[in-house]
């Protein structure tokens, strides 16, 4: 039994040792995109369109005087 197992191990090792894999890559490959087809359903319109975005309306805080509170106190300090 032991001898049989040993025989099988040696035999398989020899087989593995004998197999030599050679990998070879294609030197040139060509794709014809025109003839390629994609199967599916169109859900978006085919034509080009541009959606106008909302224009930002600037509302900057512009100068607007509603009182002269600071000036009243400053002028009092400048009197005496």
């Amino acid at each position: 039994m032991r001898l049989l197992t040993l025989f099988f191990i040696i035999a398989s090792t020899n087989l593995i040792a004998e197999k030599k894999v050679i990998i070879k890559y294609k030197q040139y490959e060509r794709f014809d995109l025109g003839s390629m087809e994609v199967k599916g359903n169109i859900i978006a319109p085919g034509d080009i369109s541009v959606q106008e975005r909302k224009r930002k309306v600037f509302e900057e805080e512009l100068i607007n005087r509603t009182n002269f509170d600071e000036e009243i106190i400053t002028d009092m300090k400048f009197i005496q």
């Binding site: 600037f58 512009l62 100068i63 005087r65 009243i72 009092m76 400048f78 005496q80």
Partner: protein, 447 residues
């Protein structure tokens, strides 16, 4: 017997006390007669800082303060001022309470002053300001109206100038109270009460222009601001006037003109801002005090701008009073009388120099802050102009023909108004009464 002994003792003590008081009062009077006013003042305040001085001492104190001014009491505490109890110290305490927001205490102090004729105008001015800060605009208007009618009658030139300053301030504050209450036409009438000879008059122009701005009379705003181009007002510093000018053109939809004013503002005020920053970054002792006494012809050659700022500061009443006090110190030290307290007076002089230096420095900081805050407003306005111009472009708006500008039909004419053309010369009686005649073209297309 016991009673007799006690009575005699009481009589002797009161006699000694009266003699002392009499002697002290006599000593003060002698110093006043010799012109050693600061020595007399120091003697009184040293003796009566913690107790109320008697009536005759208080009267002598009032006389001294009338001649030298009240700056000496600026460093006194409230308790010390209350002890002294003369009208000047009451006024100082009222103002302090106003600045601290303690309006009821300020009014309490002012009510004591109202009976004193000499201080009535100032008391009404402070009272009106207290009511204004409290939001009681009607009462403020009433106080300002009363004090604007009180004419100064002093024969002393400096005191007369001070009285006129108080009166004109009351008139300006009356305008400001109406302005805050949104009664713009009444505000304009109040501002017109300030005479053209007054140093406050140029300031009324800017505030009047704002009142016209709120009435949407932009032609009038631009006309008033044109006054600042006159040679008489070239020393006055009003960066805000440029912002208001640009805003008025913007409201009339004259975007190119508005942009031009913004560009001119940056070109004109950027070097001025750099100059002021350089001055403020120096840390020499009494730098600003020394600037006041620098030779003006030299300063004009060095910097016309700094010269004009100092001219503006020198027109203030407080500044004139402080300089008068400073010269008073100098003359008392120079006399070097054996009765004078030279050492103490020298310390008081140093203290006043510090106060003047600080006041001028604060003014310079105020000037540079005005440039920076106006610059921020100009920047915002520039963005808004770009936005409006882009909007016009997208909506394909065309510009109106400008032939209608300058037409008298564009003016907002009052019943008693008379108009004539401006012929490139600023006559004194015409200053402040200019108006433009531009046509507002915002709603229509422009080419």
């Amino acid at each position: 017997m016991m009673k007799l002994a006690l009575l005699t003792l009481f009589f002797i003590i009161s006699l000694v006390h009266t003699k002392e008081k009499f002697t002290f009062s006599q000593k003060v009077q002698k110093n006043i007669n010799r012109g050693n006013l600061y020595t007399a003042l120091l003697d009184i305040t040293d003796k009566y800082k913690r107790s109320r001085p008697p009536k005759e001492i208080r009267e002598q104190l009032i006389l001294i303060v009338e001649k030298i001014g009240p700056h000496f009491f600026n460093t006194f505490s409230d308790v010390e001022l209350r002890n002294i109890g003369i009208p000047t110290t009451n006024l100082i305490m009222a103002k302090r309470n106003l600045y601290l927001g303690k309006y009821h205490y300020a009014l309490k102090r002012l009510n004591k002053l109202m009976k004193n004729e000499k201080f009535q105008a100032q008391a009404l001015l402070v009272k009106g300001t207290v009511y204004y800060k409290m939001g009681l605009i009607k009462r403020a208007i009433s106080s300002f109206e009363k004090c604007s009618q009180i004419d100064g009658d002093s024969k002393n030139g400096l005191i007369r100038f001070h009285q006129e300053t108080v009166q004109n301030n009351c008139r300006m504050n009356l305008g400001r109270a109406y302005f805050k209450n949104k009664e713009f036409e009444k505000a304009i009438s109040a501002y017109n009460l300030v005479p053209k000879k007054s140093a406050k008059w140029p300031y009324t122009l800017l505030e009047k222009a704002w009142a016209y701005y709120h009435l949407e009379n932009y032609n009038r705003v631009l006309g008033i601001l044109l006054t600042f181009n006159s040679p008489l007002l070239e020393s006055y510093f009003f960066p805000e006037a440029q912002a208001l000018k640009a805003m008025s053109y913007f409201k009339l939809c004259y975007f190119e003109e508005s942009e031009h004013i913004i560009n001119v503002f940056y070109k004109k005020y950027k070097p001025k801002s750099s100059e002021l920053s350089k001055l403020l970054s120096k840390r020499t002792p009494f730098q600003f005090f020394n600037l006041i006494f620098e030779d003006r012809s030299v300063l004009k050659r060095r910097s016309l701008f700094l010269n004009s700022l100092l001219t503006q500061i020198e027109k203030r009443s407080k500044h004139k009073l402080d300089l008068n006090s400073l010269f008073g110190f100098n003359s008392e030290i120079y006399k070097a009388s054996i009765h004078s307290r030279i050492k103490d007076i020298s310390e008081m002089q140093e203290d006043l120099k510090n106060q003047i230096n600080h006041s001028v420095k604060l003014s310079m900081y105020n000037f540079i802050n005005q440039i920076h805050s106006t610059s921020k407003h100009m920047f915002n306005l520039q963005l808004e102009i770009l936005s409006k111009k882009r909007e016009n472009l997208y909506k394909k708006k065309t510009i109106l023909n400008k032939d209608e500008d300058g037409n008298i039909k564009n003016l907002d004419i009052g019943a008693s108004d008379i108009f004539w053309d401006f012929r490139k010369s600023f006559w004194a009686d015409e200053l402040g009464d200019y108006t433009l005649a531009l046509k507002k073209s915002c709603s229509k297309a422009r080419r």
